[in-house]
């Protein structure tokens, strides 16, 4: 399963190294900046070992994210610090269940205000407050570009659960960012 020729090695580097920054960005959201470097390096080693099983032309980013999440689950999850002890139900209750069943539109206009920009720590903060399996769904699908089927296997959950986690996570993120905007005086709740 290990590349054995310089061509394989060159092919591996050409295919995977351009994705290093994206992997690192996601790794930071999984294990924190202190351990992200080790997680990414371990991901590359595992990917190199199994590169013969990677089908050229398929989604390399999704493949690498799958490997990284697998290592995260097996090696890091147990000892990674959980930034929140709130369950998804508690978070939803905190944000108010009615939002945004009606009202995506008005909030959406506020959130799109260029003055907000969203380059600060708010998006990260909202992401970190999500329970890990919900954050994982977002990272795998929205950043890693895994299909629902691939993400549900990586998360070891049924497709319907993945679908539900994605929706609830996005809704909560939206709600958290809207609350932040309101705190700054943009719009009214």
């Amino acid at each position: 399963m290990r590349p054995t020729s310089s061509t394989d090695r060159a092919d591996f580097e050409r295919t995977t190294l351009p994705l290093m920054h994206k992997l690192y960005g996601a790794a930071c959201r999984l294990v924190g900046a202190d351990e992200a470097r080790d997680l990414v390096q371990e991901t590359y080693l595992r990917a190199y070992r199994t590169f013969a099983g990677f089908e050229a032309g398929t989604n390399c980013k999704a493949w690498l994210f799958t490997i990284m999440y697998s290592i995260f689950v097996n090696r890091y999850r147990k000892r990674s610090r959980q930034p929140t002890t709130l369950s998804i139900d508690e978070l939803e209750a905190e944000r108010g269940q009615s939002m945004p069943a009606k009202g995506w539109g008005s909030h959406f206009e506020i959130l799109q205000n260029p003055a907000l920009g969203w380059a600060g720590p708010e998006v990260d903060g909202a992401l970190q407050r999500l329970p890990e399996e919900f954050r994982g769904a977002i990272l795998l699908v929205d950043v890693g570009e895994l299909t629902y089927e691939e993400a549900s296997r990586a998360l070891d959950c049924p497709l319907g659960t993945l679908r539900s986690r994605l929706f609830r996570a996005r809704k909560l993120l939206f709600s958290s960012l809207q609350a932040h905007a309101a705190k700054l005086g943009y719009g009214k709740r």
């Binding site: 399963m1 580097e13 920054h21 199994t50 099983g53 097996n74 945004p100 995506w104």
Partner: protein, 273 residues
């Protein structure tokens, strides 16, 4: 999560994630044209998806990470080469490059000669197969067909694909794989509650295995039990072949499955395993 049946929430999310077929898209778009609430929801979901992806992807890895990765790959290559040619590689390198490199080569040689940690490798394979990092090359629920596949792939020993139907485990398929540089036959099962089970068979001896967490005997067969990263592994010998079952199910259930399927080859029934 409350679902409003009047609004195609699931289809809207599918639209956001680009997983909708043309006919459904047409239906959803028709609904969207007359429903402001769903249009807002669509845009809201799209906005969250985009903002999160942009925020994560704009982060840069620290300087030096690329170099660390390449160094790790170099070390991996060196170890692989040393494993393949441990007898003459150190001498050749020493002759070509002198004493300092000879010392390095000797170190690599010693590294290569250390026993491979088979339980850790199989536990790693378990994770790779379960999460589809490594795909099953032959997908079939027919054990005989899979055994035939292994023969066609050049697996030189007799494989025995277990029928675990009585235990509720369905065969998913298999792959002619590699374990510590040697060919292995790997095949996977899915349990009634979605549990994943991996079996591997390869030529070997129990002496290759490190000290086990537990050794049990059942029907004259010795089982070497390991626990690695939440995965339980049960190794046993069948003739010249080592079999291993691996899963993250309850350890005792895994051991009982191994007990149920292990057997002594007919021509060695008088031997003690």
């Amino acid at each position: 999560m409350a679902v409003d049946e009047q609004h195609p929430r699931e289809a809207i999310q599918d639209l956001v994630d680009g997983r909708i077929d043309a006919s459904t898209r047409s239906e959803v778009e028709s609904h969207l044209s007359g429903c402001e609430q769903c249009r807002d929801e669509l845009e809201g979901l799209r906005w969250v998806k985009r903002v999160v992806a942009e925020r994560v992807e704009e982060q840069r890895a620290p300087e030096g990470l690329r170099a660390s990765i390449l160094t790790a790959l170099d070390e991996s290559d060196a170890a692989a080469v040393a494993r393949e040619r441990p007898r003459y590689r150190p001498l050749r390198l020493a002759l070509a490059f002198g004493i300092p490199l000879l010392l390095i080569a000797v170190a690599a040689w010693q590294y290569a000669l250390r026993p491979a940690d088979l339980p850790s490798l199989v536990a790693g394979d378990y994770g790779d197969f379960k999460t589809l990092v490594v795909e099953l090359a032959s997908r079939t629920d027919d054990g005989a067909e899979l055994e035939s596949y292994f023969r066609r792939q050049g697996i030189e020993f007799e494989t025995r694909v277990f029928d675990l139907g009585m235990m509720g485990y369905g065969l998913l398929g298999g792959r002619a794989h590699e374990l510590a540089g040697d060919p292995s036959a790997a095949f996977a099962y899915r349990g009634p509650d979605g549990q994943y089970l991996l079996c591997q068979m390869f030529r070997g001896h129990p002496e290759q295995l490190p000290e086990a967490a537990e050794v049990r005997e059942h029907n004259g067969i010795r089982f070497h039990i390991y626990h690695k990263d939440g995965v339980t592994l049960a190794f046993w010998k069948e003739g010249s072949v080592i079999c291993v079952l691996a899963s993250d199910i309850d350890p005792e259930e895994l051991i009982q499955l191994a007990f149920a399927k292990a057997m002594i080859p007919a021509d060695q029934r008088s031997e003690v395993s």
